[in-house]
C-alpha cells in the first residue's frame, strides 16, 4: 500500500519504535474503548501517534469491513503486519485483547457469583435492553446506506427483510439462510454492476 503522497497534515508520519510500543499503543486504545474501539482507534492512530494518514486508516477499515471477523481486530492485524510482519500482527492483536479480556472475564466471574442478587440480575436486564437498543441503532444507520446500493433500494430492502424474517422470526440456522440468500444476492449484484 502506498503511503499517500499528498499528506494533508504537514508533519511527517511516525512509526512504532519497536514491538513494545506497538503493544502499548494498542493496549491504551483498547482500554479507552467502551462500546466500541473504532472511534478511539482513529483518533489515536491518525491524530496522536500518527502512524497512518486518514486515507490509510479508511482504506484499512474498508478492507477490514469486507472481511469476516471483527473490523477493529482486522485493522490492528493489518497495521502490525505493515510495520513488523507477522510478529507485529500478533503483538498488535495481543495489545488489543490482553487487558480487556482479563477485565471482562473478571466481571463475568463476579457476575456468576452475584447473579442471584435481584439488584445484579435487574442491572443486567436493564443493560441488556440498552444493548439491544444500541445494536438496533447500528442496524438503522447501516440500513440508510442501502439507499446507495447497486442493487437498488427496493431489492436491497427486500433482501434485508427476508434475512431478518428467516433468522429472527423463523430461527433458521444461519448457514442455511446464507446458503439460500447469499448466492441470490451476489448474482443480482454482479448483474447490476456489469451494466
Amino acid at each position: 500500500m502506498a503511503i499517500s503522497s499528498d499528506d494533508s497534515l504537514a508533519a511527517p508520519l511516525g512509526r512504532p519504535q519497536g514491538l513494545g510500543e506497538l503493544f502499548w499503543v494498542f493496549n491504551r486504545l483498547a482500554l479507552q474503548g467502551f462500546g466500541g474501539v473504532l472511534p478511539v482507534a482513529q483518533r489515536e492512530l491518525v491524530e496522536r501517534v500518527r502512524w497512518l494518514t486518514r486515507e490509510d486508516f479508511l482504506e484499512l477499515l474498508s478492507i477490514g469491513q469486507m472481511l469476516p471477523g471483527p473490523n477493529v481486530v482486522n485493522v490492528a492485524l493489518m497495521i502490525g503486519d505493515r510495520f513488523f510482519g507477522l510478529r507485529g500482527a500478533f503483538v498488535a492483536l495481543a495489545g488489543m485483547l490482553a487487558a480487556p479480556t482479563v477485565i471482562v472475564l473478571t466481571l463475568a466471574a463476579l457476575y456468576g457469583h452475584f447473579a442471584e442478587q435481584p439488584a445484579v440480575a435487574g442491572a443486567l436486564r436493564g443493560m441488556g435492553a440498552v444493548a439491544a437498543g444500541l445494536v438496533l441503532a447500528t442496524a438503522i444507520k447501516l440500513a440508510a446506506t442501502l439507499r446507495r446500493s447497486p442493487l437498488g433500494v427496493g431489492l436491497a430492502s427486500a433482501l434485508a427483510v427476508a434475512t431478518t424474517a428467516l433468522v429472527a422470526v423463523w430461527r433458521w440456522p444461519l448457514v442455511w439462510v446464507l446458503a439460500a440468500l447469499g448466492p441470490l444476492a451476489l448474482t443480482l449484484a454482479a448483474r447490476r454492476l456489469r451494466r
Partner: protein
C-alpha cells in the same frame, strides 16, 4: 456453568469457526445463531444469561468481540471462553492477514464488488435480528421497551457516549424497574 465433554468442546470450537467465516460486518451479526445454538439447541444458558453476557461485554472496555469470551465463560467456564475465542478468531485473522498481503490489488474486481454489494443487505438483516434476539428476556416490560427505543434514538440523534446509556440501563434495572 456446565462441564463439557471433549466431544462437546470440539463441536463448540467447530461451530464458532464456521461463524467466524460468515461473520461479515462483525461477530455481533452472528449473535442470533449463537443464541439458537447455545440457548435453544444446547440449553447451556438461559435467555437472560445470553443477553446479560452481551450486555456485560458492552459495559467493559475493549473490542466488542469479547462478548464471545463472556458467552463461552457463561456456557462452560474458563475453557469455554478459550475455546469460543479461538474458534471465532482463528479463521478471520488468517483471512485478514492473507487479504492484507494479497487482496489489495484485487479490491476493484467485479467479484469483490459484487460480494460487498450483495452481502450488505444481509448484514443489515442480521443486525436487526441481533437487536430483536437481545430483547428476548425483557419483551414484557414497558420500562425495557422505553430503554430499547430511547437508547437507539439517543444514539442516532445525539453524540452521547454509549457508556452513559449502559449506565442508565444498569441503574434502572438495579432499582427493579425492568
Amino acid at each position: 456453568m456446565n462441564v463439557l465433554s471433549l466431544g462437546e468442546y470440539v463441536e463448540l470450537i467447530g461451530h464458532f469457526m464456521v461463524l467466524s467465516i460468515i461473520a461479515i460486518g462483525g461477530a455481533i451479526t452472528t449473535a442470533p445463531e449463537m443464541h439458537r445454538y447455545l440457548v435453544l439447541e444446547r440449553g447451556w444458558m438461559s435467555d437472560a444469561q445470553f443477553t446479560g453476557s452481551i450486555a456485560l461485554a458492552q459495559a467493559a472496555p475493549g473490542p466488542n468481540i469479547l462478548f464471545v469470551a463472556v458467552l463461552g465463560w457463561t456456557a462452560a467456564g474458563p475453557w469455554g471462553a478459550l475455546v469460543t475465542m479461538l474458534g471465532i478468531m482463528l479463521p478471520s485473522t488468517t483471512l485478514a492477514l492473507a487479504a492484507a498481503r494479497w487482496g489489495r490489488a484485487r479490491r476493484d474486481t467485479l467479484a469483490v464488488r459484487a460480494f460487498t454489494a450483495g452481502m450488505a443487505p444481509l448484514t443489515v438483516g442480521l443486525l436487526f435480528s441481533t437487536g430483536w434476539v437481545l430483547t428476548e428476556p425483557t419483551r414484557t416490560s414497558a420500562v425495557a421497551l422505553v430503554l430499547v427505543v430511547g437508547s437507539a434514538a439517543l444514539l442516532l440523534r445525539t453524540p452521547v457516549s454509549p457508556m452513559w446509556l449502559i449506565a442508565a440501563g444498569a441503574v434502572s434495572g438495579a432499582l427493579g424497574w425492568v
